[in-house]
Symmetry: C2
Subunit: 103 residues, 2 copies
DNA sequence: ACTTACGGTAAGTTATGACTAACCATTCAC
DNA sequence: GTGAATGGTTAGTCATAACTTACCGTAAGT
C-alpha cells in the first residue's frame, strides 16, 4: 500500500479526522488530545500510531509528554494525489459538455 | 457528518480507492468496473452507493447500463479541506524552525 | 410474450478495527 | 529513592462494514 493510500485509510476514520483537525490547530500532547474527545487515552495512542504510520503526523518527546503535530509532507502527498483526479475530472466534464453540445 | 468528512470515509476503503481511480480514467458501467476488481458486482454497487452519497461520483442510466463517473465537486471539497491543513502545516513548520534557530 | 443483460437491494456471514481495561516503562519533582 | 504524571502496548470485546448469495425490477432484442 502506498503512503497516500494509507493516508486516506487513516483519515477514513471519523475519530482520527477529529484528532488530525485538532493537531492542525497546534501541536499537542496525547493527554490533552484525549481530553474532551470522548474516547480513552490508549485509544488515542492507537489512532496516533496509525496517523504516524501514514505519514500524517510526527511526534517528539518533551519530558514525560509526547507531543504530536501534523506532517506537511503527508498533506502534500494527499493533495498531489487529489490533483490527479482534479485534472481528470475537468477533462471528463469537458468531454461530457462536448457530447451534449453535439447532440 | 459533513460532506468532506464523508468523502474521506468513502476513500478510506482500499477497494473504493481502486474504484475511484478507475473511474477517474474514464466513466464506466458497473459491470465493467467489477470485472478484474476481485469482488462481486453487488459489492461494487454497494461501494458505488457510498461514493455517490459522499458526492464523489455521479451516475447516469444508459439503456440497461448505469454509467458512473467522478464528480469534480467532491474532489474540490476534499482539496479545499486539505488546503486548510497545508496552510497550518506550513505555519507549524515556520514556528518550529524559529524555535530551533532560537535555541 | 419471452429471454438476456444489467444492476440495485436485502439478508446472512465473518473478519476487522475501534474501543476498553490493565500493565509497564520513562520522566521529573520532591 | 519514592510517587505522580505521562503514554505505549497488549489482550479482550463486540459493533460494523466488506463481502457473498439470492431476489427482483428495468431495458432491449427477438
Amino acid at each position: 500500500m502506498t503512503n497516500h493510500s494509507r493516508a486516506f485509510v487513516a483519515l477514513g476514520d471519523p475519530t482520527r479526522q477529529v484528532i488530525f483537525e485538532r493537531l492542525a490547530r497546534r501541536p499537542m500532547p496525547v493527554g490533552k488530545l484525549a481530553a474532551g474527545l470522548g474516547v480513552t487515552r490508549p485509544a488515542v495512542s492507537q489512532h496516533l500510531k496509525v496517523l504516524k504510520h501514514a505519514g500524517l503526523v510526527t511526534a517528539r518527546q518533551e519530558g514525560t509528554r509526547r507531543v504530536y503535530q501534523i506532517d506537511p509532507r503527508g498533506v502534500e502527498a494527499m493533495r498531489t494525489y487529489l490533483d490527479r483526479f482534479w485534472d481528470r475530472a475537468l477533462a471528463a466534464l469537458k468531454t461530457a459538455a462536448e457530447s451534449e453540445s453535439d447532440s
